[in-house]
């Protein structure tokens, strides 16, 4: 048997889950989506608070909604719509991506919320039955599109979980996979080191430019980001400055060359290591990955956080044993063994690599078992660029 199995989509991408996603295109339908998720085994849902406003955030919102509908981990997506032209625009955009079977249920066509819930429940039941009948096939290592994330970092992050994840990322990239580092705020202060690893001078300049753009956008608000970061939890965890946090955060990307820079929720065009411009906000970053077509994420954490995604398995790696051996129902792997002197960095790097393959092959990550389906549509970007 091959090391990796998955589901090949019609656009050539690979999925490691076969979800039926229920995706509301108006906030008033978010509860219906959650109800369908609760009623139909195998259906997943996200909720959000967007009411179809078309403002400077619309482009990003449309990209994320069309993108998550087409995440390769979805077998099918059911759009729940009110029946407005702006929703049709997003569905048209989503169809042009072409990865997933798309269905639309419209409240104004069905006439009532009760009818919408009944139709969505029936359709989700039929689609999950179809999805269950699809069998996994052998997949190449290039099927993996890995998201690298950290949240609730502490002083151990940069010496245990992050560099161990970096080793796993390097190994996967060398085998033809894609890996994405993100969180622009968390490379602030270490961008020159990442730019030096760019595949071309142009990509290096893009990394520097993205950080400068980010810093301008925040100072535009009259705020020095260094006064707000590290966060209170980071400081309690022993981090002193944003630069220290950044140097640790960047270790998740190992030592591979950077192939390119991606805007928020953009799909990487070829395999390789990328940097994506996202906030450090855990869920805005997870949402960007889901929209970009990331099919598995590793999330290192010092303080411990339960969050996950409706579409991407999210593996939690603890940076320290003090937390990792206590919050066991939200942590998948403990990298605290490195600072405990029990395991080496290489050994934990191997464990993370194997865990990525196991979870890709169907082992459930803790956040999946716990049904953590966080999602959000980030706002106020247009005004700050």
């Amino acid at each position: 048997m091959s090391a990796l199995t998955g589901f090949k989509r019609s656009d050539g991408r690979w999925g490691f889950r076969n979800h039926v996603l229920v995706l509301p295109l108006h906030q008033v339908l978010s509860n219906t989506a959650r109800e369908v998720e609760g009623l139909v085994d195998g259906a997943v849902a996200v909720s959000h608070d967007w009411s179809g406003e078309v403002d400077s955030d619309f482009e990003r919102i449309a990209k994320v909604l069309a993108g998550i509908a087409n995440n390769p981990n979805n077998f099918a997506t059911i759009f729940l719509t009110v029946g407005t032209p702006i929703e049709t625009e997003i569905i048209t955009r989503s169809r042009s991506l072409g990865a997933t079977e798309l269905h639309v249920l419209s409240l104004s066509e069905l006439g009532s919320m009760t009818a919408l819930l009944a139709h969505a429940t029936n359709l989700a039941t039929q689609l999950t039955q179809k999805a269950t009948a699809v069998v996994r096939v052998d997949a190449p290592m290039s099927a993996i599109v890995l998201g690298l994330e950290c949240g609730g970092s502490d002083a151990y992050s940069g010496i245990t979980a992050n560099p161990a994840l970096g080793l796993a990322s390097d190994r996967l990239v060398a085998q033809g996979a894609t890996s994405i580092l993100a969180e622009t705020m968390e490379i602030l202060g270490s961008e020159h080191l990442l730019a030096a690893r760019a595949i071309t001078p142009e990509v290096g300049k893009q990394i520097i430019d993205v950080v400068a753009r980010y810093e301008r956008s925040i100072s535009y608000e009259g705020i020095d980001i260094r006064g707000a970061q590290p966060s209170r939890g980071n400081i309690e965890g022993g981090l002193s400055t944003l630069e220290e946090k950044s140097l640790g955060a960047a270790k998740k990307a190992g030592s591979a060359q950077f192939t390119g820079v991606l805007e928020y929720a953009d799909t990487p065009p070829t395999p390789g290591l990328y940097f994506m411009d996202t906030p450090g906000h855990d869920i805005e970053q997870l949402t960007a990955f889901a929209g970009a077509g990331v099919n598995i994420t590793v999330f290192t954490t010092g303080r411990g956080t339960p969050t996950g995604s409706a579409v991407m398995p999210t593996i939690k790696v603890a940076t320290n044993s003090e937390m990792g051996l206590v919050l066991t129902d939200l942590i998948d792997l403990n990298a605290g063994t490195i600072s405990d002197g029990v395991q080496t960095l290489d050994e934990v790097g191997d464990l993370i690599y194997q865990e990525i393959l196991d979870v890709a092959n169907g082992k459930l990550a803790k956040a999946e078992i716990n049904g953590q389906h966080e999602f959000n549509l980030s706002r106020l970007y247009g005004s700050t660029l």
Binding site: T32, H48, P306
Partner: protein, 251 residues
């Protein structure tokens, strides 16, 4: 202390990371909760803005008691938020996931704490004649407001949405959605939706509580019935999210 027209327990997640656990606790104890994306990664005016928004929710007249659920490492610290809320609503407590042994520990502790909270209101819950109706509309409803106020029903109006009316302590919302917007609801406040004459509203006529030519008396009767406990359509559907005001992008 103003008593509301509803008496809900609120499970208040102080950060996006605790919204899912809050829903599990709320489902178990029959409380209200909501999903949101705030509480961390916020800077500038939003830190106080989100804090105040949470305080407004927790002290709303329709809220009988509050359990705050925090993660632990976020910007808005639940012990500090809990301190501010308990001085205004003594029927409140907080729990922290990172200090509760993980997901199951926090859910278990949350259920126990939520059940231990008594309502801050005494006796059987009765509607009062001093409730406030929030009018969600950008248009002028002077005639309607005069009519309602003559009946002793206080009104506040805002074009900024349900959350603003919540902060103004509206206990019932009368909403006039624009022609491109569907009728919607708000988890803590019954919302009566009045239809317009557009195509979308005609298609959704079953989801409106009042038609577009409803007389003032008809509207007043509907408000009084809702105050006495009858459910609005959006309330029965549990439709509508709580949208927090934000001024600055996340970091």
């Amino acid at each position: 202390m103003n008593e509301g027209v509803r008496s809900y327990q609120l499970i208040l997640p102080s950060v996006v990371c605790s919204t899912h656990l809050s829903r599990r606790i709320a489902q178990e104890v029959g409380a209200i909760t909501f999903a949101h994306q705030h509480g961390c990664g916020i800077i500038g005016l939003d830190v106080a803005g989100i804090d105040n928004f949470f305080i407004d929710l927790a002290t709303h007249p329709n809220v009988s008691s509050v359990l705050i659920v925090g993660l632990g490492c976020e910007t808005i610290q639940s012990n500090e938020l809990g301190g501010k809320i308990s001085s205004l609503n003594p029927s409140s407590k907080y729990i922290v996931i990172q200090e509760s042994g993980g997901v199951e520990g926090a859910v278990e502790k949350g259920i126990t704490e939520a059940r231990s909270l008594k309502s801050r209101f005494q006796g059987p819950h009765l509607p009062t004649d001093s409730f406030i109706v929030g009018i969600d509309s950008a248009s002028n409803h002077e005639g309607l407001i005069l009519f309602l106020e003559n009946l002793g029903i206080k009104c506040v109006q805002s074009p900024k949405g349900f959350s603003e009316l919540m902060s103004l302590k509206a206990q019932i919302i009368l909403s006039f959605p624009t022609p491109s917007q569907p009728p919607s609801g708000f988890p803590l406040i019954p919302v009566l939706n009045v239809a317009g004459s557009g195509v979308l509203h005609q298609a959704l006529s079953h989801e409106f509580d009042l038609h577009n030519s409803a007389a003032y008396q008809e509207i007043a009767d509907a408000i009084v019935a809702v105050a006495a406990g009858s459910k609005t359509i959006s309330e029965s559907n549990n439709s509508g999210e709580i949208i927090a005001p934000r001024l600055v992008r996340s970091v």
